[in-house]
């Protein structure tokens, strides 16, 4: 309790929920208990007074009865003595008997005897009312303080005329007289007052104890059910606001506060999830931006590359034109010269070397021309075997290919294909370069061509097989995507297979891949066979 109040003070929590609840309920309880206390107290008092009054009536009745004999026999002394005896009893302050004219006939206090009171005296007022001429026949009861420190019960009871009275020998009362006199008794209510006081005190103590117990219970309940969880919640909120999303509220009650805590925990974990997602998103965004930037760089590189290729193509065309004429001279005169020396002679062999080398120059030029897309843009029936040979001529003397074994399995009766040979050459060159990169300069590249027929028609199939490491499953799905490459920037643009795929599709064919980890990779190209018009 003290702890709770300390806490409340520390937190100025009269403004808090608990404070307000305690204040409200406390006030209600104090007011309620006060009313209860007051009503109970009043009820007790009335009860006690009523029983006192009842007792008073019996007492007066008793006074009359005990003097009945004295009166009937008119023994005034006996009456006076009886009155005095009664008056000396404990709690009896005064007993008086008045005659019908208001004169005190007998009294426990002898000095009073003979005194006459008029109708305005307190004794008479009960029956005769203030102005009083019409007497009431009922006994009157009056409780007054009368300058004493306890209250006094004053009872006045008329003495009525009876047969025995007016037939008695003394003939003191005529038959017509209705009321013969009155008995007035003043009884002390000191005991009553005391017990009322004691009872009031007891009730007060009970109520206070009750209030105290209820308050303690209420405070404890409120503290445990509301204040503690609420301050836990508040702390949780502060933590979460401060960025601690791992904070978990440990309130497991089944009530509304528990539900609130549950909702709070759910909210925190949702927040955390959302935050994580955001962070991750931010990260991946960064990564995506980076990827895109790289892709753009690659695209730029590719653009430069293709620009280079295009100008290379133009240059090759010009160079080819210029060079082929002198080569024609070399070849022709070489042959003419060749005829002048017998076969097997040293000169003959030397000239043959000249001719061969001139032819090689021409082959290189043709390779370059085939490579430059600009040099051919239309489809025509072509022999795939020739296109592959052209492609091989371009690469096979490169240093990269010195340790590579190149095997060709050409079908001599291969159908022609309607195609742009320079574009096909681009496709084949990329496949050859990819294979060479995969086997890292050592191994075998096998190129095969064959006619195949299936229910969709006649096809020419070209296979490029290498003995490289194969392609991961993870990458396999991506190799035809533009810009996908596992090669360092600057070496691969990742466009090779993408462009190839496009070119082959454009030719009505398809390109596919089969690979096995550690054993190698095969790329298959299928192109529709060209049917020559008869």
């Amino acid at each position: 309790m003290v702890y709770i109040f300390k806490q409340m003070l520390v937190k100025k929590s009269l403004h808090s929920l608990t404070g307000k609840l305690i204040l409200t309920i406390g006030t209600l309880m104090v007011v309620g208990s006060s009313i209860f206390w007051y009503l109970l107290f009043r009820h007790q008092e009335t009860e006690l007074i009523q029983s006192s009054v009842k007792y008073g009536h019996s007492f007066v009745e008793y006074v009359i009865k005990s003097n009945r004999y004295g009166m009937l026999t008119f023994q005034q002394l006996l009456i006076q003595q009886t009155i005095e005896a009664i008056g000396s009893a404990e709690g009896v302050l005064r007993v008086r008997i008045f005659d019908s004219r208001g004169k005190i006939a007998y009294s426990s206090d002898k000095k009073d005897i003979g005194t006459v009171v008029d109708k305005k005296a307190p004794v008479c007022v009960g029956c005769h009312s203030a102005e009083g001429t019409h007497p009431k026949d009922t006994p009157t009861v009056l409780i007054s303080k009368d300058n004493r420190d306890f209250r006094v019960l004053n009872i006045v009871q008329p003495i009525y005329n009876e047969v025995a009275c007016y037939t008695s020998t003394c003939h003191a009362h005529p038959r017509q007289q209705k009321v013969l006199g009155l008995v007035e008794a003043n009884l002390s209510l000191a005991v009553l007052d005391k017990s009322i006081k004691n009872q009031g005190l007891a009730i007060t103590i009970y109520v206070l104890v009750f209030l105290f117990v209820i308050s303690v219970v209420l405070c404890t309940i409120l503290w445990n059910l509301v204040s503690t969880p609420v301050s836990l919640l508040t702390r949780g909120m502060e933590k979460v606001a401060g960025g601690d999303l791992d904070y978990h509220l440990d309130i497991n009650t089944k009530d509304e506060i528990g539900e609130l805590a549950q909702a709070f925990n759910a909210m925190t974990s949702d927040l955390k999830k959302a935050k994580n997602e955001l962070v991750e998103w931010g990260n991946t965004l960064e990564k995506k931006v980076q990827e895109k930037t790289e892709a753009i760089h690659r695209a730029q590189a590719q653009l430069i590359h293709s620009e280079k290729l295009a100008s290379l193509g133009r240059m090759a065309a010009g160079v080819a034109h210029e060079i082929n004429s002198p080569l024609t001279g070399i070849v022709t005169f070489g042959h003419l010269l060749l005829k002048k020396f017998p076969q097997g002679s040293e000169e003959n062999e030397d000239i043959q070397v000249i001719i061969e080398q001139a032819n090689r120059c021409s082959t290189i030029i043709k390779g370059l021309l085939g490579f430059a897309r600009a040099s051919a843009a239309e489809k025509a029936p072509v022999n795939i075997n020739d296109v592959i040979s052209h492609s091989l001529n371009i690469v096979k003397n490169k240093a990269d290919f010195f340790n590579i074994k190149i095997v060709t399995n050409f079908d001599d009766f291969l159908s022609k294909v309607r195609a742009d040979s320079s574009q096909l050459q681009q496709v084949f060159l990329n496949l050859i370069m990819n294979a060479a990169d995969a086997i890292e300069g050592k191994g075998t590249i096998t190129m095969s061509t064959r006619n195949i027929r299936d229910n969709s028609g006649d096809w020419v199939e070209i296979e490029f097989r290498d003995t490289g490491p194969g392609i991961d499953d993870e990458n396999l799905a991506k190799i035809f995507e533009p810009f996908f490459t596992t090669k360092p920037v600057g070496k691969g643009t990742g466009l090779g297979l993408a462009v190839s795929h496009g070119i082959i599709q454009e030719h009505g064919g398809s390109i596919s891949v089969k690979t096995k980890r550690g054993e190698g990779t095969s790329f298959f190209i299928k192109l529709p066979a060209y049917k020559e018009m008869p």
């Binding site: 002198p326 022709t332 001719i355 001139a358 040099s375």
Partner: protein, 128 residues
């Protein structure tokens, strides 16, 4: 006996010389022209059996020469010499009536082979 009179039109001296040196020993008479105009004027004077013309020349290109010859001397066969073979021009020239095309650099044998085929074709078509 002369196997036929052949006109070689090429802006490059070495090509003209090569052709004449390759063909003459086989019994062909070879006339030379540096460009299309010169070639056409020779056509107007002499009786030519076969024309070998380069495709790419400064003033008038091989295709034009081919058209002109086929228009004015339909009986004369034409073989196109190309510096670099492009499929479309080759197809185009065949469509326009060229008998064949031959790629530089060519060997004397290849040239003689092409020429004799063309002349055979010409003789055959003239007989019918």
């Amino acid at each position: 006996m002369k196997k036929g009179i052949i006109l070689v039109i090429d802006d490059e001296d070495i090509v003209r010389t090569s052709c004449s040196r390759a063909l003459t020993p086989s019994g062909y008479e070879v006339k030379l022209a540096k460009n299309g105009h010169e070639g056409l004027s020779i056509m107007g004077g002499d009786k030519i059996d076969l024309v070998l013309t380069d495709l790419k020349m400064p003033d008038m290109d091989g295709i034009e020469v081919l058209k002109k010859i086929k228009q004015d001397w339909p009986g004369v066969e034409v073989i196109i010499i190309t510096g670099y073979q492009t499929v479309d021009t080759a197809v185009k020239s065949i469509k326009l009536g060229a008998f064949d095309y031959i790629e530089k650099p060519f060997t004397p044998d290849a040239l003689i082979n092409a020429v004799s085929k063309a002349l055979d074709h010409k003789n055959k078509s003239q007989q019918t």
